[in-house]
Symmetry: C2
């Protein structure tokens, strides 16, 4: 095997110059004669030199890597967001390391420590479920930007989020305008701020309007189709079932629709269903899913930009907070209240 590694030293030898000069060429320093510069470049090409970023990072204590830590890569919401992060990061000269936590807090911590260990320049945590003190601790070792953070997080850390509260609020109001009074809600795992905010939006809307507030109209879900199916079944088989069900994300809503179908209920004639996120699938399922649109890609872009700006600007120490807007996308899964 013995993959022989070409170093700056080999390049220097072939070019007939010192290592310092080669390094200067690589880093674009002005102080190297164009003749020598060319010789070095030629030597690099000839030897197929590839710089060793680990050595470089060790020496300079800088790197062009940023981590993106997210809950569930298989929920299409996250790839869309990840793409926004990746595109922006690439544009700004950074590479992302994508880490999938499976909503497992331990795994999330391990990933962040791995990123610190590998001296990544920063990390974007999406819907982090790390305890606040861990985030605080890690933030001393690596620049952090949060997307949809923990509830009540106060640290000096940038935050990008969407108007989750308003999103849910508007959805419930819209259902009210269709005549619904019995509107249920299925939450996520309530471990992220965004999820709590969505619940709050629901609660506020229900209390504001002419809705029936019942505790058993609120179910704790887990952001999955299966979860939605199970809880949707429960809700729809209550003695006084809701006529509309809002969900903390689209997968849950899809599960609810399946549950309705299994119970021979028509959507939206018998029951209305709304999701959150507006993933691409919404337009493809039957009936097409009414959903609260989040600017996934923009969110990713924004977070990447904010993080990298922080990385580049050594003295910027104020925490910034960006809120992007949601928008209700009305499709076929919601309709006027039956009866």
């Amino acid at each position: 095997m013995s993959k022989k590694i070409v170093t700056i030293k080999d390049v220097a030898r072939l070019a007939g110059t010192s290592l310092g000069t080669v390094s200067n060429v690589i880093n674009g320093s002005k102080t190297v004669k164009s003749e020598n510069r060319e010789r070095v470049i030629k030597a690099m090409e000839e030897l197929e030199y590839i710089p060793n970023l680990t050595a470089q990072s060790l020496k300079t204590n800088k790197s062009k890597l940023i981590g993106l830590v997210l809950p569930t890569i298989t929920n299409p919401f996250y790839p869309a967001l990840a793409k926004g992060v990746e595109d922006m990061a690439n544009r700004m000269g950074y590479t992302i390391i994508l880490c999938n936590t499976d909503l497992d807090c331990e795994k999330e911590a391990r990933y962040v420590e791995m990123l610190i260990s590998n001296r990544a320049a920063g990390v974007i945590l999406v819907k982090s479920s790390l305890p606040e003190e861990s985030i605080e601790k890690y933030s001393k070792k690596i620049k952090i930007t949060l997307i949809d953070s923990k509830p009540n997080f106060q640290g000096n850390i940038d935050l990008v989020e969407t108007s989750n509260y308003e999103g849910l609020f508007k959805a419930v109001e819209y259902l009210g305008s269709l005549g619904h009074t019995r509107v249920a809600y299925i939450t996520g795992n309530l471990r992220s701020k965004s999820d709590v905010e969505r619940l709050n939006g629901y609660l506020q809307a229900v209390k504001n309007g002419k809705f029936l507030y019942r505790e058993d109209y609120i179910k704790n879900g887990n952001f999955t189709i299966d979860g939605g199916y199970k809880l949707g079944s429960e809700l729809l088989q209550m003695p006084e079932p809701p006529t509309a069900i809002c969900c903390s994300n689209d997968l849950t809503a899809i599960g609810v629709i399946q549950a309705a179908k299994a119970l021979n209920l028509r959507v939206p004639q018998d029951v209305s269903v709304a999701g959150f996120d507006d993933i691409d699938i919404c337009k493809l399922v039957m009936p097409a899913l009414t959903s609260i649109h989040q600017p996934k890609y923009d969110q990713g872009e924004k977070a990447a930009r904010v993080l990298i700006e922080k990385i580049n600007d050594e003295n910027a120490s104020i925490a910034r907070n960006y809120i992007l807007n949601t928008e209700l996308k009305i499709r076929e899964s919601t309709g006027i209240c039956p009866k």
Copy 2:
């Protein structure tokens, strides 16, 4: 800012020992007295020591990072595969760096070089569109495992693929058994072996059976919904349109179904549609999509295992080739031939 970095040296000082001893503790060497070991461990905890993997990798010329380079993270097929890779890699002590090429060959090359630069131990290339000589070149610097490689690739490189040929063959045969004779096919970009194999499966099946072979029943797509929509429209508006359309992936098939709907054609009564990959969405769209199932997760797992085994076993130099089976999942989008 000044994030102060705790090194092995600081730990040694606090523990009242030499760096060598600390290093031995970290690497679990047996030759350190349990009393000292404890002191070191305590010091590490107290200082919140996090090892510098760049330094370690520089010194040992090893790392626990592997790259996963794939075409389109937003196609749900890839996250499912990625999860298989990630789970297996984690289980074997490795971390993955996920890279998304957008089917851009330049970007793919940049990513591979980045991985080499960062001294990743290996890389899994999914449906690589790199020229063969590039792969050959890179394989001298980093261990490579291919998933669904370039056509005709012959290098000494492990390969994991699925029975693409048989998959398409069986699908066309099945359509034949439903009475279809005019079966069209929409390819992908034909830049990966898997895609070419699928086309070959189609061609062979058509030539074998009592099908009508027409060149204009074969369209070159691009693996996207939009592509499927456009080409599906074209096919369905031909003077003698096909009665069934097979697609190189599910997204394309979904596009075709949308095109059919837009033309007021019913699926499957007027036209049958089949996809490839069997992504989760297949069960959710209406009508549910008949598709050729690939063991995405298993494929990822297998590739990760093969790669890491190769990394760990320095002398293993024979290339291995694994073929996983496809399976036709019959759902609602295919039916008996009209008329």
